[in-house]
Amino acid sequence: MTTGNPMMYVGAVGLIMIGLFTVLSKRNLIKIIVGLTLLDTGVNLLLVAIGYIHNRTAPILTQAHADPSKMVDPVPQALVLTAIVIGLGVTALALALAIRVYGHYKTLDTRKIRGLKW
């Protein structure tokens, strides 16, 4: 990788955009929730990419790699671990609500659900 290679950023921002666009423009609840998970994945990728440093290794000491000054930033990784689990919680709750909405309306189309039109 050359210095300043922005490919990771492009991937992360692209994923964020796809996710946001899915949430904003789709009318199927499950599709909207898929969009939310894509958005989450994109944000996580962005965070880890910000913590990356060239020519260093993972922040885990082993007998072979015992030099802390040759490791990437551990903080964003810790944050992303948290964020991934939170994302799963949100997704599960959203899906449960979607099942519930389906029970009331027999559809997931937001145009047909009174409170979800916009």
Partner: protein
């Protein structure tokens, strides 16, 4: 109108992010606190996996919050996917419309189940030494239950043991933190001896906390999967 609003919002964000990220060059060293963790992490906590040291020592409160988020999610699922009892037809109870899986799948899943649980346990017990930890191990454990659900139509999980595991693990986390407050003067302080690096019994309270998290996450995710499987889509 809707498409226009979406596009303009997206365009604004893309331009903003592109401009912002151009000031954060990819792959350069900008660490402030990160350096401290890398230099002192092992000495401070005894965990050779620095990410674990950050997750369970320096930023342990985040982790407590995060298992609470999962706890809330599984509570919410319990609320939303429980339907009034009286309307439940006795006929459809315990039956799913899937055809019965073949013998190989059923026996195979039963054979794999303990192995996967064991693997999950291995992952969270070694969280302070190798990549992986409570979240990864917990989700592996939940995947074992998922496999049982998929392989055996009649499979049911009893929710009481799950609930007990969940709360006991959560209480363990908080109590270990409170003991740290009592002994070391700080909540979630690592008050146990750090031990030798690279050995299983090292890093003080970190293996205890990670096991609690592993069990809690495993129980919560299994509960979520079970709730999803057992819910009905209609009244």
């Amino acid at each position: 109108m809707r498409a226009f609003v979406s596009f303009s919002v997206l365009a604004l964000i893309v331009v903003g992010l592109a401009l912002s990220l151009s000031h954060i060059p990819f792959g350069t060293d900008r660490m402030q606190v990160g350096n401290y963790y890398l230099d002192h992490g092992v000495a401070d906590t005894g965990a050779s996996n620095i990410v674990t040291a950050v997750v369970l020592n320096y930023r342990a409160l985040d982790t407590l919050g995060e298992v609470t988020v999962l706890f809330i999610a599984s509570l919410g699922l319990g609320v939303f996917l429980s339907w009034p009892k009286k309307k439940e037809g006795t006929q459809e109870e315990g039956k799913r419309e899937l055809p019965e899986a073949s013998l190989i799948v059923r026996r195979g899943s039963q054979f794999l189940f303990p192995l996967i649980i064991l693997f999950g346990g291995y992952i969270f017990l070694h969280g302070h030494l190798t990549p992986g930890g409570g979240f990864q191990g917990g989700s592996v454990i939940a995947s074992a239950f998922l496999l049982m659900f998929l392989g055996n139509n009649a499979y049911r999980l009893r929710h009481t043991p799950l609930t007990v595991t969940e709360s006991l693990a959560g209480i363990t986390f908080v109590v270990v933190g409170l003991i740290g407050l009592g002994v070391g003067g700080y909540f979630l302080n690592n008050f146990l001896p750090k031990g030798n690096m690279f050995s299983l019994f090292s890093a003080g309270v970190i293996p205890i906390l990670y096991s609690a998290i592993g069990l809690k996450v495993g129980a919560e995710l299994s509960g979520i999967v079970a709730n999803m499987f057992e819910s009905r889509s209609e009244r």
